[in-house]
């Protein structure tokens, strides 16, 4: 913002506390060209914090990160260009492949369950009944606290040996032992944690369901269509934009899970992510390589692989939306 202030004439379009300077400078009578210039200046002045942030904290770092990805960089010595070595090391690293596998597992299992739960409960709450607002608020609450360290600690306790979950499965005779001690099962405690936070997509589904015109259902009732057909042929198409939004956001978020994996998996030392790397999700491994092993170049390469993966998923979803997402006329 500081440099922009030197363009003194621009200020009368923006910050001047008394805009009625003289009759000639009021916006309307000015020539169209002059007016356009003033709008441009005002626009960029208002945008200047964002532009500075974008250049300094987003675009610049992205370029730097891309460069680091091809270097050996430990923070103390200057980055040394090593070409594709980081990528070669990454693909050859069984621990990296393991982190990719459990992250994909987490995304592919957790996201659909969470979204189905969100949609199911939203359909339930869409019925106008007493207490609806209370339930909506209560179901939403976990989304606000789910990412906190506190909840991760609670989660670790609930899913540990001899705790509630373990006792419950013993009751039904399905194996013994908590999930957090088992390298195979611990990731499912994180799946449970993300499903527990179904409230945020649920609220968005609910808002979408409210927009579906009642007449459509009334007409379907007259035609004798059952509830299931109404859901497939009316509800789903009508809320498909909201469904798309939720799928996109939840998938992208799931790829980036960090703190709950770090805390639920973290042993006393804090280094390990779960027994036998059971919660070593992608970002945990990125953190370990970058900040514990000081492999900034390698970690940058990992970050770019994550970006490519997320971009691919986003692209596929946007490409697929032509086939299943119905936008209303006049909407976007």
């Amino acid at each position: 913002m500081g440099s922009a202030v030197t363009h003194a004439p621009a200020l009368d379009g923006r910050a001047d506390p008394e805009p009625r300077h003289g009759p000639a400078t009021s916006p309307r009578p000015a020539g169209p060209k002059q007016r356009r210039r003033r709008e441009n200046l005002a626009g960029y002045l208002f945008m200047s914090p964002w532009i500075a942030g974008f250049l300094l904290l987003t675009a610049g770092p992205m370029v730097a990160s891309l460069y680091f990805a091809f270097t050996d960089y430990n923070l103390f010595d200057a980055p040394r260009w090593i070409g594709l070595d980081n990528f070669a090391e990454m693909f050859g690293d069984p621990r990296w492949r393991h982190s990719v596998r459990i992250t994909l597992w987490y995304v592919v299992v957790g996201t659909p369950i969470k979204l189905i739960a969100a949609l199911g409960v939203a359909l339930l709450l869409a019925q106008k009944r007493r207490g609806q607002a209370f339930y909506r608020a209560a179901f939403y609450a976990p989304s606000l606290i789910g990412a906190s360290v506190s909840v991760a600690i609670v989660w670790k306790a609930i899913f540990s040996d001899d705790a509630v979950v373990d006792r419950t499965q013993q009751l039904f005779g399905i194996g013994a032992g908590g999930w957090t001690g088992d390298p195979e099962l611990i990731i499912y405690s994180l799946v449970a944690l993300t499903v527990w936070q179904f409230g945020a997509p649920m609220v968005i589904f609910l808002a979408g369901l409210k927009q579906v015109p009642r007449e459509l259902y009334e007409a379907a009732d007259v035609d004798g269509a059952g509830k299931l057909r109404q859901f497939w042929n009316i509800t789903l198409p009508m809320i498909s934009p909201v469904l798309f939004f939720n799928v996109l956001l939840e998938t992208i978020h799931s790829f980036q899970i960090f703190s709950s994996a770090y805390i639920v998996g973290g042993g006393a030392g804090g280094n390990a992510c779960g027994p036998a790397d059971g919660t070593m999700v992608y970002t945990c491994y990125l953190y370990v390589q970058g900040f514990e092993n000081s492999r900034m170049g390698l970690a940058s390469a990992m970050a770019w692989m994550l970006l490519v993966a997320v971009a691919l998923v986003t692209a596929v979803l946007f490409w697929s939306q032509k086939r299943w997402v119905h936008y209303e006329e006049g909407g976007r």
Binding site: A42, F54, F139, A163
Partner: protein, 303 residues
């Protein structure tokens, strides 16, 4: 009501309206019952961990994990009194104050910078607006981890490690695209006539922003402020990377330090502190849940 209910039995089709309503009521009763039972069952699952941590914080350390009773027979407050000693000579209130400082600082930054940016997108026609808007939406989908390492290197070169600047600067530079987006949506829905009239009266953009748009945007600003507060309070990765002196730790880091240093020795204290750390967020939720839910709902609608 009961008098009407008696003569409802013979009615089948095209009855007088009152008894029809009673019939409908009767037909719907099982559905209503199922609805409430279903909702209560979900509520029980949702609330269980919260009740668990409340109950656990009043139990003896050894009884917390293994016991299936939600609440202890004879509750103790030792877990809370043990917190008074703090962790590693640092009082719990220090972590609270640090977290509060960061959260309030973030809220101010987000409200100011994002509303300015959103105003430009929503109300000013300038060259390149659509391109910048696309870039902004792009950053919404960008994984934060791509920026993690280069930002760390940047702040390290600027000698800002172990300060709060790396955690706050982005908030003052509108890098949280979600809130910009939320406010743009809100501002676009304001009646155009208001600012057009103000323009005709010769108001500049800053005047319109300050005296017309901002006051009308209060709901969006409050939603952004509350979300920012909660996100900042819960943030773990940022403080984990940038803060390395326990005296500057936030509550999240303090809690993690508790887990690492005393988690086994004072399990009850750890559970009590987990609950204490959640309280501000829960209080915010209880006070402002309407803003939060409406804010969430509108963000998804026009995506």
């Amino acid at each position: 009501m009961s008098a009407q209910a008696t003569d409802v039995t013979p009615v089948t089709d095209a009855p007088p309206p009152r008894s029809a309503r009673a019939a409908v009521l009767r037909r719907r009763l099982p559905g209503s019952l199922a609805w409430h039972l279903g909702s209560l069952a979900i509520l029980a699952v949702i609330l269980y961990p919260v009740l668990w941590v409340i109950g656990g914080s009043f139990k003896e350390s050894g009884d917390i994990v293994g016991s299936l009773d939600l609440f202890p027979g004879d509750p103790i407050t030792d877990n809370y009194t043990s917190l008074a000693d703090g962790i590693a000579d640092i009082s719990i209130s220090t972590f609270f104050v640090n977290s509060l400082f960061l959260a309030v600082g973030s809220v101010i930054g987000i409200v100011v910078s994002c509303s300015l940016t959103a105003y430009a997108f929503a109300k000013i026609r300038f060259a390149g607006r659509n391109l910048l808007f696309t870039l902004m939406i792009g950053t919404l989908l960008l994984p934060y981890h791509v920026l993690l390492i280069p930002q760390y290197v940047l702040f390290r070169n600027l000698d800002m490690i172990n300060t709060y600047t790396p955690l706050l600067l982005g908030k003052y530079l509108a890098t949280e695209a979600f809130f910009v987006f939320l406010m743009v949506q809100f501002m676009r829905n304001l009646p155009r006539e208001l600012d057009e009239a103000a323009r005709l009266d010769g108001c500049g953009h800053f005047r319109i922003y300050w005296s017309i748009v901002l006051p009308l945007c209060r709901p969006a600003l409050i939603t952004s402020a509350i979300f920012t507060f909660i996100n900042s309070w819960n943030d773990f990765m940022g403080p984990l990377i940038y803060l390395n002196e326990p005296g500057k730790y936030t509550i999240s880091l303090g809690l993690k330090m508790f887990v690492d240093q005393e988690g086994l020795a004072n399990y009850g204290g750890m559970i009590a502190m987990s609950l204490v750390a959640l309280l501000p967020v829960l209080a915010f939720f209880l006070a402002f849940q309407r803003y939060l839910i409406d804010g969430m709902a509108t963000s998804g609608l026009k995506g």
